[in-house]
């Protein structure tokens, strides 16, 4: 029983990190109908910002950890907005395929720039948060896991508020539903798209730091696998659907953790992807997604 709970917490924290990345994929897809392949590298840059800022702060303090995380979020927001502004926007009027290929190029660019700037060798991530183990009724939880779950939960509630309760968030949903009609009420699509990239990238930045806390070595290619998983999670939940991305990520994190703890652990990724295929066979638009048709 306690082993089950233990795994549940592990799965939850892994899923929470996937969710932070998946939300960026799904939001950008929602407004632009394209997959930003460079998103997983923004996640990587977030981890490195956390690394450099964290090294200059006293280790093992909550405030130090939060500062490193805030820096990663801010830096990634600027990076994400910059990539959209300088690279994707000039191509927006062309075919989506062009932007898609450019996004792959951007991803490679960030990865190889990362190797150039940070070096290819993995580095140990500083323990920016207090590294305590907490024991509750025989259940051992690391402080880092608690932080991952709490921070991810806070960020997702904040995102929910930003998207569903603020004017710019409502505008974002309006653009996702119908960009033409959005322009006709006076929404500047460029502003909404920048906002979307900023928001999604900030979450990925936080995800990068949280991921590095639990898998404490970072390198310029570290975004590849979690990025792919998060993308799968976004599709699983119904790409373009925000609660769907969070749900898909939690399911994926759980499946992966439980399979990892069983004797089929070698096949954990295969089983995670089989889950995806299985769900998509029955729900082609994803768990919460639907192929929306405008009522005529």
């Amino acid at each position: 029983m306690s082993e089950f709970l233990q795994q549940l917490i592990n799965g939850l924290s892994l899923g929470a990190i996937y969710a932070l990345i998946a939300l960026g994929y799904t939001m950008v897809y929602g407004v632009l109908r394209f997959i930003n392949f460079a998103h997983s590298d923004v996640f990587m840059v977030g981890a490195f910002i956390g690394y450099y800022v964290g090294r200059h702060l006293p280790e093992g303090t909550v405030w130090g950890g939060l500062i490193a995380m805030a820096a990663a979020m801010a830096g990634c927001a600027v990076l994400g907005i910059g990539i959209e502004r300088l690279v994707y926007r000039p191509l927006r009027s062309g075919p989506t395929l062009n932007v898609l290929i450019t996004a792959i190029g951007m991803s490679l660019f960030l990865e190889y720039s990362g190797q150039l700037v940070f070096g290819a060798t993995p580095r140990a991530f500083p323990s920016i948060f207090p590294a305590k183990l907490i024991e509750v009724h025989g259940l051992i939880v690391s402080m880092n896991q608690v932080i991952v779950i709490v921070v991810a939960a806070v960020l997702m509630v904040a995102l929910e508020f930003a998207v569903f309760k603020t004017k710019i968030g409502t505008a974002m949903r309006a653009v996702a539903l119908n960009p033409k009609a959005a322009q006709l009420v006076g929404i500047n699509i460029d502003v909404v798209i920048s906002f979307t990239f900023g928001l999604g990238s900030a979450l990925a930045g936080a995800g990068g730091v949280l991921y590095a806390l639990n898998y404490p070595s970072i390198d310029p290619l570290m975004g590849l696998v979690p990025g792919l998983k998060a993308f799968v999670a976004a599709v699983l939940g119904g790409v373009g659907n925000i609660p769907g991305a969070a749900l898909g990520a939690l399911i994926l994190g759980m499946v992966e953790t439980f399979v990892d703890g069983s004797r089929w652990s070698t096949y954990k990724d295969a089983i995670a992807f089989a889950t995806l295929i299985g769900i998509l066979l029955f729900r082609p638009a994803g768990l919460l997604g639907r192929f929306t048709a405008e009522k005529v």
Binding site: K167, T170, A171, R173, A174, L177, N178, K180, A181, A182, Q183, L184, V185, G186, I187, N188, I189, T292, E294, K295, V296
Partner: protein
């Protein structure tokens, strides 16, 4: 107040408008009629900045707005109720109206505009928390008009407001258009295939045929025009 001159618009190699010129005076209701594919929607979309003309100009209140982006044209005072209504289907009626007032910062005037919209379309108040996609076609049209009114337009362009709506509601919608024009001094540019009804409420009309204007004149005169009668007014049954 609105002057369109020598507008040429094409979709890739297909030319859709070949030299359209028209005028809407302050406080008037002008209609643009024509069959399917004549270029009516293209005309409105070019005026509101969703499409860029190859040549020609759009002047609004003395300013050349031809190259302005759509959101800035809205800010100048042109409201556009698009063909097919295009309400934000997953957003509530309330949120749709709030988006209509996107550029408006003054809370008190937003509240006044909402009251005005509820005054002409009381049904929207009853449906406030409902998502727009669950409304009937007629209610969606009311919402689309209400949303445009929330932007406090000086000129309101409507693209086939009668399309796909229960006949009973068509006359209501047209009465409201007249009411909006009269009470709020909002000029109207009405696009219709339903020529009878459009000519009845408008003072001036333009007839569009495959990308160019074939006729224009006082609506009362055009209603009597034998050519037009044969082409557009013939088989149409007027709703009660």
């Amino acid at each position: 107040m609105l002057e369109v001159s020598e507008l040429f618009v094409s979709y890739g190699a297909i030319s859709a408008l070949r030299g359209i010129s028209l005028k809407v005076d302050h406080g008037s209701i002008v209609t643009l009629i024509g069959g399917n594919g004549a270029g009516k929607t293209t005309t409105l979309r070019t005026i509101s900045g969703l499409l860029r003309p190859r040549s020609g100009t759009v002047t609004f209140l003395g300013e050349n707005i031809t190259q302005l982006p759509a959101h800035k044209i809205v800010a100048r005072g042109i409201g556009h109720v698009p063909e097919g209504r295009m309400v934000f289907s997953n957003l509530t009626v309330n949120e749709n109206l709030a988006m209509g007032a996107y550029l408006c910062k003054d809370k008190a005037s937003i509240a006044r505009d909402r009251d005005y919209v509820f005054g002409i379309f009381p049904r929207l108040r009853e449906r406030l928390k409902q998502s727009a996609g669950t409304l009937s076609g007629g209610e969606q049209q009311m919402l689309a008009i209400g949303r445009a009114l929330m932007g406090e337009p000086k000129l309101l362009m409507l693209d086939e407001p009668s399309l796909g709506i229960a006949p009973r509601l068509i006359s209501t919608i047209f009465e409201k258009i007249v009411e909006i024009n009269r009470d709020r001094k909002i000029s109207i540019l009405l696009v219709e295939q339903n020529a009878n009804l459009a000519l009845e409420i408008s003072s001036h009309a333009y007839v569009l045929e495959t990308g160019s204007l074939s006729m224009d004149g006082a609506s009362a005169d055009l209603r009597m025009n034998p050519q037009l009668k044969a082409a557009y007014l013939g088989g149409y049954k007027q709703p009660k």
